[in-house]
Amino acid sequence: MNVIEINQLTKYYGKHRGIENVSFSVEKGEIFGFIGPNGAGKSTTIRALLSLIYPTSGTATIFGKDCIKYGKEIRKDIGYLPSEVFYYENMKVIEVLKYSASFYDDVDMSRIQTLSQTMDLDLNKRIDDLSYGNKKKVGIVQGLLHEPKLIILDEPTGGLDPLMQQKFFDLIRIENEKGATVLFSSHILTEVQKLCRRVAIIKDGSIVKVENLQDMRQHNYKKFTIEFENVVDPAAFGFEGITSLTQEETTLHFLYKGDINKVINRLQGKVLRNMLVEEPTLEEIFMHYYQKEN
């Protein structure tokens, strides 16, 4: 059963494109990644799901019910962490959380304590006085407080230090194991890879691909930067699997997909000063993977 089903969803702000014909679905119980660069339309899609904005055309259902028509009913079971967390500045953290809880039936108030302890959040501070990362934590706690069946996270990790990110991921995994479905939006691929099995990739308002991350890893690109002692002939690296080869004096840059040993063999007998093998950025994946294949 699909918890989220988005069908040809389109949103224009006047003449400005928000999203165009976005379609994908999220299965019950999965952690689904939603990745794309800033401004690609991730937040627009999510905000349309929550009927914070109304789509120009297309439909979306959550729990099998139309998002707009049954918005109130659906939102009872949604926990949402907005990308930009601002709350009532002159309230204390505990007041915001209690205010949030007051909108739901049967909230287990002890969860305020346990969640904020896990996230190391001071309940008695005023929202005003919190750093960006701490405001994110308030967002996380209010999003998970009422034990929602669907958790929608829009760029949740910004401002969190790595330790907190880890704790946050653990929390999400726990909720997921308890049965919650998660839609996780991010522009950082590695972050999504840690949690998600499937991802939808959005670019310029359209879904480029919905893919299993397992498949994606198989034809994953590596980004090579090799600095040689002397200028080398780039033709030596003109073999299958290498793309966007560029040369800067003694340095070669290229993307490679395939058996890593082939590259290592070509390096035999050459004197290197430095070598970097990196995960390509999301942008580079868009450039050299999806655009080529489509």
Partner: protein, 265 residues
């Protein structure tokens, strides 16, 4: 209920400040009456020497301001203006501030319908303007009584306050409609201030020039005549009816427009 109480809490300080301002204006206005009365000068003949236009601008066109009721009726224009500004600003801000404060995504992602947010906010507005109205009532009766041998003209002031409340409701609804339909709080409050100023000057223009008489229906400040209210104690039910109908229309528009609104982050 949670939204209603949150709005009351968020607004009580500003309500107290507005109320203090109103009490101060009533106090200051009636102090001037004491000054006139004690000086023993025949004010009416004094003002008779002033150009009519000037008197009209200050709302003293044809009123006997040597009597406390007449004097109060002249100043009522300013009490009314302050109440109108308070109500229209409340309406404009209360509807639009979640987007201004970037808390709209939080609030509207709760299991609430749009109208379930607007209704308690407007109810909090009604409580606020009612409080403001009662403060105006209390201060008026107190200060009139001070200069009228203890007779606060309770009956007449009460009727005046009914008229004031109808006006306040109208301005609250106007502000709410502006808040729902305009892009930001800033634009909504600017538009509200513009409308108040515009209609206020229109009411002055109507007083000044009989040719503009037909335009009096366009300005809420001409719907009630302070002299008739305070001196005769009569309330124009036609005006009450028209204003309430317009208030109802504005409120409905506020709901309809806000329901369709794309909330900004």
């Amino acid at each position: 209920m949670n939204i209603f109480f949150k709005e009351l809490k968020a607004n009580y300080k500003s309500l107290l400040i507005w109320s203090c301002a109103q009490v101060f204006i009533i106090f200051a206005g009636m102090m001037k009456y004491k000054g006139f009365a004690d000086s023993g000068v025949d004010i009416n003949s004094l003002f008779a020497g002033f150009p009519k236009e000037l008197l009209v601008v200050f709302g003293m066109g044809s009123t006997d301001i040597s009597q406390v009721a007449g004097f109060y009726s002249v100043f009522f224009l300013y009490f009314m203006l302050l109440a109108a500004v308070h109500a229209v600003m409340f309406g404009a801000v209360v509807v639009s501030k979640e987007e201004r404060d970037h808390s709209a995504d939080f609030l509207f992602s709760r299991p609430v319908k749009r109208h379930e947010v607007i209704t308690p906010k407007l109810l909090a507005g009604v409580v606020n303007i009612l409080f403001f109205n009662l403060v105006t009532f209390g201060a008026s009766v107190f200060f009139i009584g001070l200069y009228n041998n203890g007779d606060g003209l309770v009956d007449k002031v009460a009727i005046t306050m009914v008229a004031l409340f109808v006006l306040q409701l109208f301005f609250l609804a106007l502000g709410a409609m502006l808040g729902a339909s305009l892009k930001t709080t800033k634009i909504a409050t600017s538009a509200a201030a513009g409308i108040i100023l515009g209609t206020f000057f229109l009411s002055v223009a109507v007083d000044l020039n009989a040719n503009f008489d037909i335009l009096k229906y366009l300005t809420p400040f001409k719907y009630f005549n302070a002299k008739m209210l305070v001196i005769d104690g009569t309330l124009s039910l036609n005006s009450v009816g028209i204003l309430l109908v317009v208030t109802f229309i504005l409120t409905t528009l506020c709901y309809l427009i806000f329901n369709k609104r794309d909330l900004s982050t």
